[in-house]
């Protein structure tokens, strides 16, 4: 792609494309009001 060897293109273009795809997936699946985060305090050791 753009005259680059395949492995170089994989890192230069593939890394960006993969990150964008994951970010879109993250945005679509992201929940800002799920119940488990309401009780987050209980998950942490406090001493």
């Amino acid at each position: 792609m753009f005259g680059l060897p395949a492995v170089t293109a994989l890192f230069v273009i593939g890394g960006f494309v993969a990150a964008v795809a994951l970010s879109i997936l993250f945005a679509l699946r992201f929940s800002a009001d799920d119940e488990e985060w309401v009780t987050l305090d209980d998950l942490f050791r406090r001493s």
């Binding site: 753009f2 005259g3 680059l4 060897p5 492995v7 170089t8 994989l10 890192f11 230069v12 890394g15 960006f16 993969a18 990150a19 964008v20 994951l22 970010s23 879109i24 993250f26 945005a27 992201f30 800002a32 009001d33 985060w37 987050l40 305090d41 942490f44 050791r45 406090r46 001493s47």
Partner: protein, 317 residues
């Protein structure tokens, strides 16, 4: 070096703007919470610009242009090949828990967060404080190298004077406004850097006939310039891949200048789109690499003056 009054005027104007942002920010700060974590926090755009602006800065522009000139793609693959994934990984892992902790507890720093998570012991405080100081120190060295380069190259100042003036400006806008000033100056700086880099990338790459022609000419000069790593030496495949994995992919989740900014997120909904926005903002680091590569091709063809070192390949005229 003799510079034009226009150049000096632009740099002075730039410094005045960041100082003005610092002064403006001091009026928005009325408590420790405002100063350290921006009170109620920022929305998705300021957070994205603030984080990416903190990552790229001097190293992203001067460093990537120099790496393109000196090594072609090898140093880019080493430092940036997995960094888009690394940045999104940091968001996926840390943004939500740190936002929740910041809203539920009185936390201002990374050691505060770790004290909430692992217990407020002296060991946690000392280890996390040392790690934060060490991580920040290493990163700041690169930034002050860039500041020194600007002062010595453009104004002809000594390195000491360059660092003093540049450091004074940084202190002036940071001390009064805290994280509010830091985030908004990052916002402004990233816009300036993006415009500069995109303009010069389009200009220099078009001079060599476009991106495909650039890569073809680089391969004719030396096939290693378009290879992901070199046959031997510092950019052998082992070095490139180990660095890319541990620094490019994993380190973003651990560096303090990113993770502490998660404390300034206004609410959980802000997190949804900041990984995607940041990916696109980070793209201009690739464009900076192309500036160096295009200049290298022009220099090899005798159409541009070879530079004394890879850090001096940004065209000045």
């Amino acid at each position: 070096m003799i510079v034009s009054w226009q150049t000096i005027a632009v740099i002075v104007l730039y410094m005045l703007v960041v100082i003005a942002i610092g002064v403006w920010s001091t009026k928005r700060v009325s408590s420790m919470r405002d100063y350290m974590v921006a009170g109620d926090g920022f929305g998705r755009w300021v957070v994205s610009f603030g984080i990416v602006g903190a990552i790229v800065s001097g190293a992203g522009v001067l460093g990537n242009a120099g790496s393109g000139y000196g090594t072609g793609y090898a140093l880019y693959v080493q430092t940036m090949g997995l960094s888009f994934l690394g940045l999104t990984l940091a968001y996926f892992l840390l943004a939500k828990p740190m936002t929740v902790i910041a809203k539920k507890h009185e936390v201002y720093t990374l050691p505060d967060v770790l004290a909430v998570r692992y217990g407020d012991s002296r060991a946690v405080r000392i280890l996390s404080g040392l790690a934060t100081a060490l991580g920040s120190l290493i990163y700041l060295v690169v930034q002050f190298v860039a500041i020194g380069y600007i002062g010595t190259t453009i104004f002809g100042w000594s390195l000491g004077l360059s660092l003093f003036v540049g450091g004074a400006v940084v202190v002036a806008y940071c001390v009064g406004g805290g994280i509010v000033a830091a985030m908004w100056t990052n916002f402004f700086q990233l816009i300036v850097l993006s415009v500069f880099v995109v303009y010069f990338a389009v200009y220099t790459v078009s001079q060599v006939g476009g991106l495909t022609a650039l890569h073809r000419q680089m391969a004719e000069i030396d096939p290693e310039l378009v290879a992901p790593w070199h046959a031997s030496g510092a950019f052998a495949w082992q070095n490139v891949l180990v660095y890319a994995f541990f620094v490019g992919l994993l380190a973003y989740a651990g560096v303090p200048h990113i993770s502490t900014k998660f404390l300034t997120i206004r609410n959980l909904e802000v997190i949804r789109w900041i990984p995607l926005i940041s990916c696109f903002l980070y793209l201009f680091a690739v464009a900076a690499t192309w500036i160096g590569m295009a200049y290298r091709v022009r220099a090899e063809q005798g159409l541009a003056q070879p530079v004394a070192g890879p850090t001096r390949c940004c065209p000045r005229s």
